[in-house]
Symmetry: C2
Subunit: 326 residues, 2 copies
C-alpha cells in the first residue's frame, strides 16, 4: 500500500462522501482497487437489543488478540451510541475504545450522497478497507428495507436479540431473521434467555430454505467438483456487558468466513452486492439527469395535473419519461 490516509484525512474523506461532493469520487476511484481485503460484518437488531455494546466488546476482544486486526466501527443506526441519537450512559461506556489508535469509529449520516445512505455506507467501507482496516463492523437498526440493504454490504450478518417480555421476538416481528448468518441472544444472563433461544431455534427451523440473501442451506447447485455452501445459522448466547460469549461469537464469525470461502458463496454474494450497488447508483443518476433534461414547463404541467388528481403519479412519471429520449 503506497499511501495510507491519516485518521484526519480519513474522517474528512468520509464527510465528503456523506455530503455527496464530486471530488470524493476521484478519491474513491483511486482507493477502490486497493480495497477488498477487509472482513465486513453487519450487526443489526432492534433498539434496546444492546448491539452497540456488543459491537464495542467485539472490537475490544479483537484488539486484545495477539497480532490484533485494525478495527473500524460504522454506525448507520440512529439509535446507536456511536451515532447521533445517543444516550449519555451508552456513550460513556464506549469511550475507552476511542483511545485505541487501531480502532476507528464513525457514524453515518446521509446528507445528499447519490444513492442514499446504503451507497454512502458502501463507499465508507471501501475507504476503510483500502486504508488497512481489517475488520469492519457495520451497526444498523434492524427493521426496514434500508437496513437490510446496508446489512447486505456485509459478508456476514449478525442479528442481535435480547430476551423480551413473554414470547416476543423482535427479529421475527421485524422480519429480519432471514438475513441472519449468526443470531446472537444478548443479555443472556437475563431472565427469559433460554425461552428466547428456543423460540429463535423454532423460528430458524421454520424459515423457508432458500429465503434470505444467503440462499440459505441450498442455493444454486455448485459446479461439479466444488462443495456447495453449507451453513446452519448458529445461535450464540452473549452477555456483552459482562463480556461473556464474545469469544464464541468471534469463533462463529471465523467459521462463517470459512463456509463462505469453501462454497464459493462469498464470491457469489460479492457479485450480487456489486450489481445491486451499480443499479442503485444508476437509478439515482438517471433521475438526476432526467430532472435536468426535462422541460420546466412539462414538469410543472405534470405536477399541476397530478395535484388536481387528473393524472396518477405513475402516469405523470411515464409522461415525463416519454418527453425524454431513451
Amino acid at each position: 500500500m503506497e499511501h495510507t490516509l491519516t485518521r484526519r484525512e480519513l474522517a474528512r474523506l468520509i464527510t465528503r462522501i456523506e455530503n455527496g461532493e464530486r471530488g470524493a469520487q476521484d478519491a474513491l476511484n483511486a482507493l477502490y482497487p486497493r480495497a477488498g481485503n477487509a472482513r465486513i460484518v453487519g450487526v443489526t437488531g432492534a433498539p434496546g437489543s444492546g448491539k452497540s455494546t456488543l459491537v464495542a466488546e467485539m472490537a475490544r476482544a479483537l484488539r486484545g488478540q495477539a497480532d490484533p486486526p485494525r478495527v473500524a466501527i460504522v454506525a448507520v443506526d440512529p439509535s446507536s451510541p456511536f451515532s447521533g441519537g445517543a444516550i449519555l450512559g451508552d456513550r460513556i461506556r464506549m469511550r475507552d475504545l476511542h483511545g485505541d489508535a487501531g480502532v476507528f469509529i464513525r457514524s453515518m449520516a446521509s446528507r445528499g450522497a447519490l444513492g442514499g445512505i446504503a451507497a454512502a455506507t458502501a463507499d465508507v467501507v471501501t475507504v476503510l478497507d483500502a486504508s488497512g482496516y481489517q475488520m469492519i463492523l457495520i451497526e444498523t437498526v434492524g427493521a426496514g428495507q434500508l437496513e437490510v440493504d446496508v446489512a447486505r454490504i456485509a459478508q456476514s450478518v449478525i442479528v442481535v436479540e435480547a430476551p423480551g417480555a413473554g414470547d416476543e421476538i423482535q427479529a421475527v416481528k421485524a422480519g429480519i431473521l432471514e438475513i441472519a448468518d449468526i443470531v446472537v441472544v444478548n443479555k443472556a444472563d437475563r431472565e427469559g434467555a433460554a425461552q428466547t433461544v428456543s423460540a429463535l431455534k423454532s423460528a430458524l427451523e421454520l424459515a423457508p430454505v432458500g429465503a434470505g440473501h444467503h440462499g440459505a442451506h441450498a442455493g444454486p447447485a455448485a459446479p461439479a467438483g466444488h462443495p456447495s455452501y453449507q451453513w446452519q445459522t448458529p445461535i450464540v448466547k452473549v452477555s456483552a456487558l459482562n463480556r461473556e460469549g464474545i469469544a464464541e461469537l468471534l469463533d462463529a464469525l471465523r467459521r462463517h468466513a470459512e463456509a463462505l470461502a469453501a462454497g464459493g458463496e462469498g464470491e457469489r454474494r460479492r457479485r450480487r452486492q456489486i450489481e445491486a450497488d451499480i443499479q442503485a447508483r444508476l437509478r439515482e443518476m438517471l433521475l438526476q439527469r432526467a430532472l435536468h433534461a426535462v422541460a420546466r414547463a412539462d414538469y410543472q404541467q405534470v405536477l399541476a395535473d397530478a395535484g388536481r388528481r387528473a393524472l396518477h403519479p405513475a402516469e405523470a412519471a411515464r409522461r415525463l419519461l416519454e418527453t425524454l429520449q431513451p
Copy 2:
C-alpha cells in the same frame, strides 16, 4: 361515485398492485380522480410499542361513533399482527374487527411493485380512498427511511412510544420523533409512563424548529392575509389495551386536521408528497428502461470490471449512463 368496488374486487386489485401487474395501472388511473376525500393517518413506533392494538382500538372507537366513518387499516409493518410476521395472541385480539363490514384490513407486501413498497402503499391508499373509506390508518414500524417515506403518505403522523426500562426513548433513539404530529405514550398505566412523558416533552422542546416533514411550528412564511400553520405536537397518554385515552387521541387528530386546513399546510404537504411520489416512480422507470436499453455486452463488461475492482460501482453506473442517450 358510480361504481364501488366490492371487498373481493378491492382485495384483488390490491394484490395486483403489490405484484406490479400492468393492468392495475389502468384501474388506478380510473380511481385516482375519485380519491382525495379520506383522512389518512400514519401510525408508527418501535416493535413492542403496542401500535397495532392502538390502531385496532382507534378503529373500534371510530366505528362506535354516531354516523361512523368507514375505516381501513393498512399494515406495512412486518411486526404487525395485521400483517405477516404475527404473534398469535395479537392476532386473536384483532379478530372481532374483521366481522365489521365497515372495516377493511390489509397488510402490504412488496413483490415487485414499481417504486417499491412506498409507492405500492400510496396506490393502495388511493384505491381505499376512492372506494369510500373515510379514515385510513397506515401502520409502519418506526425506524429507517422507508418507514418515514410510508408515513409521509399520511396527512398526520402518530408516533407511538411505550414506557421503557430506564430513560430509553425508542422514538428518540430511532430518530423518528421529528416526523410526529402527535405523540402517543401507550401503555400509560405502566410504571415509568410519567417519566416517559416528561422525557418526550424535553425531546420535543429540544427538536430543531423547522425539522421534520411538517416544517414544524415555523415553515415558509404564509402568504399575506393567510394564517400560518400553527401546531404544537401534543403528547397523548393512552392505554389501548384498556381502551383509555382513545377519545383524546381522536380529538387531537381532529384538531390537527383543522390546523392543517387553516394554515394551508395540508395542501402544501400534499403537493410535496405528490412530487416525491412522481420522482420515486420516475427513478424506477428510468432504471428499468436503461437496463433494457443498455447493450448486454456493455453491462457484463462493467460488472466484470467492477467485480475485479478495476472500476468503482459509481463509475460503472456512470459508464452505463454514458452509453445511453439522454
